[in-house]
């Protein structure tokens, strides 16, 4: 009786399978909570609005009874016209795949408060802290509600629409001062401090300012008495980062140690918080594409793809056939390049200093050469456009014909480097000793903590956006979703090897299509620089990026050239929620390895 509407036909019919579970789940929610759950009345918006009082109960029902157990994204939205703040939850069904149940909860702008969902989904932890930081929504019952990307003591909640930064010029780009007057001025010259700062009126330093050094240290040492020896010991707090060779950037961990064993670990982030979303809401739609490059800067093509897919949903634009194949080509090459980098660094963290890393990077350079020839930049490609891609494939890459280059790359060079990698570390006893059984994340925890990508799949969850909610032409391709079941560092290492092999499989299928479609247009419609939204609405687009599910939540008003809300569901950021859990009970040296196995990129963590 309970799941009767969910039993979709076993065979094909992707549309009905994808649509039905969500609709039926929403219908049943409404049936069960007639007063608390109602359809979103706004035009172009989906999902339900849930009463704040019933939010936890509705979530529990959704998780336990309806099978929607994976909270993907928590987004704050400022509805300044209504005087309200909204928090949007995207919840997915791991088993069935398909699209999300979108829950929205609204609260007053002045005294914003909502119940925290950390008790239902621990994965909401960091995301709710982010919403608190950016919007000032107080989550009742959150275990540790502090600012996450900025520091305690920062004035204001910056993503609120009426908050203005020191270098504020105009509400939206393009700025009028650039043309035709064009009187050039560095913006800092108009600031009294000559810097990107502003202080509340009449503020003077008091001496109680935020100290990065000691902010997270416990003020009183925790004594512990060993039962057998009657020896009293103190726990030690060790700070790793933000400048630390193992943290892959400017990430910081405050580790509480008992001897050498980790008692608790708290990630501290925000050291690369570049205000992606605030800038993104000021940009026009097309101006955001190069900014998305700089999210996960190791896989810029994937970021581009996710963003253009989301905006294409809103615009309703068509993508040409050749462009789709080129997109898949780029996305999969990006996956390989990213995993080569990630594995190189992971092995480096395991102590095999430099050597495997250098071997992997040589092959990665070849992929970068291809990107450079195709898009013009090695790293930050800015290659996708709404309706297609920016350029067709180049004639030649490094003096070789492009198709020959790709063929050799896909059939020889990359398989060779994967074999070499297997010889280097897969059977290596030291790697095995260091990584098997370390940093275990169980299946249940992986789902509860909203882990995504290789971290989720290494814990035995066969979930991949390319299969669960296919985009582009992935439904036409034959590939497997690799899955491993132990959830430890070794599995997360192997699953990246598996994924690269599957990517090669996809690429082998893409090549003939590229040959077939040669000469066809790579972009549909006119390339436009001033795109206006044909209709109001929201869209959540997601792709399976190398690091996990990358989602973009965009809302726009009709005839607007700028997004109203632009949010990035960053896989690295959300995967870090589980870091503390993974590290507990392990030695401090393992922390480095566990962090490496999550494969974070700080540009995406902090945005």
């Amino acid at each position: 009786m309970s799941e009767m509407t969910l039993d979709a036909p076993e065979d094909e019919g992707a549309v009905t399978v994808n649509d039905n579970p969500v609709e039926s789940a929403i219908a049943r929610l409404k049936e069960r909570f007639p007063d608390a759950v109602s359809d979103d009345p706004r035009d172009g918006y989906e999902g339900v609005i849930v009463d704040a009082d019933k939010l936890i109960e509705v979530s529990e029902a959704l998780r336990d009874d309806l099978g929607f157990e994976y909270l993907s994204s928590v987004t704050g939205v400022d509805l300044i016209d209504d005087g309200k703040l909204e928090v949007v939850y995207h919840v997915y069904n791991i088993e069935e795949g398909g699209s999300a149940v979108v829950m929205k909860a609204q609260t007053d702008r002045d005294n914003a408060s909502l119940p925290s969902l950390v008790s239902v989904w621990p994965g909401a932890d960091f995301q709710e802290r982010e919403v608190w930081d950016m919007y000032g929504v107080h989550f009742e019952g959150h275990p540790d509600l502090r600012r996450i990307l900025l520091w305690d003591g920062f004035k204001g909640h910056p993503l609120r629409k009426d908050w203005q930064e020191p270098f504020f010029e105009e509400e939206h780009k393009p700025f009028g001062s650039r043309w035709p007057g064009g009187s050039v001025a560095r913006i800092e010259d108009s600031n009294p401090f000559g810097k990107n700062v502003q202080y509340p009126e009449g503020w003077l330093p008091t001496g109680d300012e935020y100290d990065v050094e000691i902010d997270m240290y416990p003020h009183e040492p925790a004594h512990r008495e060993d039962e057998s020896t009657r020896m009293v010991t103190d726990k030690v707090t060790v700070n790793m980062g933000p400048q630390h060779p193992s943290t892959h950037g400017v990430f910081r961990m405050v580790v509480e140690l008992d001897g050498e064993t980790v008692v608790s670990l708290k990630p501290v982030m925000g050291y690369l918080h570049r205000n992606h979303e605030k800038i993104g809401e000021r940009n026009t739609f097309i101006q955001n594409i190069p900014y998305t490059d700089r999210l996960d800067y190791l896989s810029s093509m994937g970021n581009n793809l996710g963003y253009v897919l989301t905006i294409e949903k809103l615009l309703g634009s068509e993508v040409t056939e050749r462009a789709e194949w080129i997109r898949i080509l780029m996305a999969e090459l990006t996956r390989i390049a990213n995993h080569l980098w990630a594995l190189g660094f992971l092995i480096n963290d395991l102590g095999a200093l430099q050597t495997p890393m250098l071997y992997f990077y040589l092959e990665r350079e070849l992929i970068l050469d291809f990107f450079e020839a195709a898009s013009g930049a090695r790293l930050l490609c800015n290659y996708m456009r709404f309706g297609g891609v920016a350029y067709d494939l180049p004639d030649k890459v490094r003096e070789t014909d492009t198709m020959t280059f790709l063929h050799d790359l896909i059939y020889e060079n990359i398989p060779n480097v994967l074999d070499q990698g297997e010889n280097l570390f897969v059977g290596n006893e030291i790697v095995r000793t260091r990584s098997i059984g370390v940093g275990v994340l169980t299946r249940e925890d992986a789902i509860a903590y909203s882990a995504a990508g290789p971290v989720l799949r290494a814990s035995g969850v066969q979930y991949d956006v390319r299969r669960a909610e296919p985009y582009s032409y992935y439904d036409k391709l034959d590939f497997d979703i690799p899955v491993r079941y132990n959830g430890d560092v070794y599995d997360r290492l192997l699953i990246r090897m598996d994924e690269m092999r599957q990517s090669l499989r996809i690429l082998e299928q893409v090549l003939p299509h590229l040959k077939e479609t040669e000469g066809m247009p790579v972009i549909g419609g006119k390339p436009q620089y001033a795109i206006r939204m044909p209709k109001a609405g929201e869209a959540y687009g997601r792709v399976e990026n190398p690091k996990g599910e990358l989602g973009y939540y965009v809302t726009a008003k009709r005839r607007d050239a700028n997004p109203q809300r632009y949010h990035v569901r960053a896989p690295s950021f959300i995967n870090l929620t589980a870091l503390g859990k993974m590290c507990e009970g392990h030695k401090v040296a393992d922390v480095v390895v566990i962090l490496g196995s999550i494969d974070i990129v700080l540009g995406e963590v902090d945005r």
Partner: protein, 233 residues
């Protein structure tokens, strides 16, 4: 017979005729400088210090294809105490800048700072952001700027060669780190603190002035120059 006296060394020393062939009078710095500079120029040890996207290109530069070892720079040091060069490779945020300044202060002299990429030089595309520092040179003395977003590995090496050239022009007699008064640590930069916004302690006077201005403005008629500066909500 020509006298080998270097005119710059001061000409008030007379050399007896019989020693003219055996004595070279010169500025000691002129002899030592090339040796001193050669040694420092070819063993610049950078710090392992990646901030953002540019760091990836920095690591690529250090990897085997571009191979910084050819310049004696392959020894990336994890601690500032052992490094000579800090490559600011990426966006400097307000939250990060106290750490960067602290690291800079911990580096032994001679120390060099390279600003890699648009973000480190002037804020880059993220300049308008509320948490971004518009150029690390607002806090640290920068020796070489490498433009680009991101600079390719070859552009970075170009910058490193420019740094080597700069080191090559220094003189042991004039470099600041030997001309210190007493044990005063001349090069140290006060570490900024995080208040309601980033506070550069060298600007404390301007902050006081602005605060006083705001106070008088409250009592007096209206604000004038301040209106250009939006106030936090």
């Amino acid at each position: 017979m020509t006298s080998q006296t270097d005119p710059s060394a001061g000409s008030d020393i007379t050399v007896p005729d019989e020693l003219q062939n055996n004595v070279v009078i010169t500025n000691i710095a002129k002899v030592l400088d090339p040796v001193y500079n050669w040694g420092r120029r070819n063993s610049v040890w950078p710090m392992v210090f990646g901030l953002a996207c540019c760091a990836i290109e920095m690591i690529c530069t250090a990897a085997s294809r571009y191979d910084l070892a050819r310049f004696g720079m392959e020894v990336f040091r994890a601690t500032p105490r052992q490094s000579d060069l800090m490559i600011i490779s990426g966006t400097v945020t307000k939250k990060m800048v106290p750490t960067i300044v602290r690291l800079y202060n911990q580096m032994p002299e001679p120390r060099y700072v390279m600003s890699m990429g648009a973000c480190a030089s002037g804020g880059g595309p993220f300049k308008e952001g509320y948490n971004v520092v518009d150029g690390i040179d607002k806090f640290l003395p920068v020796d070489v700027y490498v433009p680009g977003c991101p600079p390719t590995p070859q552009a970075l090496i170009n910058g490193l060669i420019a740094l080597q050239e700069k080191i090559g022009q220094q003189s042991i007699a004039t470099v600041p780190w030997y001309s210190k008064q007493g044990d005063e640590f001349t090069g140290a930069v006060p570490i900024p603190v995080l208040g309601p916004d980033l506070v550069d302690l060298r600007q404390i006077d301007i902050i006081r002035e602005e605060a006083a201005k705001a106070e008088t403005n409250d009592t007096a008629v209206e604000e004038t120059a301040e209106s250009a500066m939006p106030e936090a909500a």
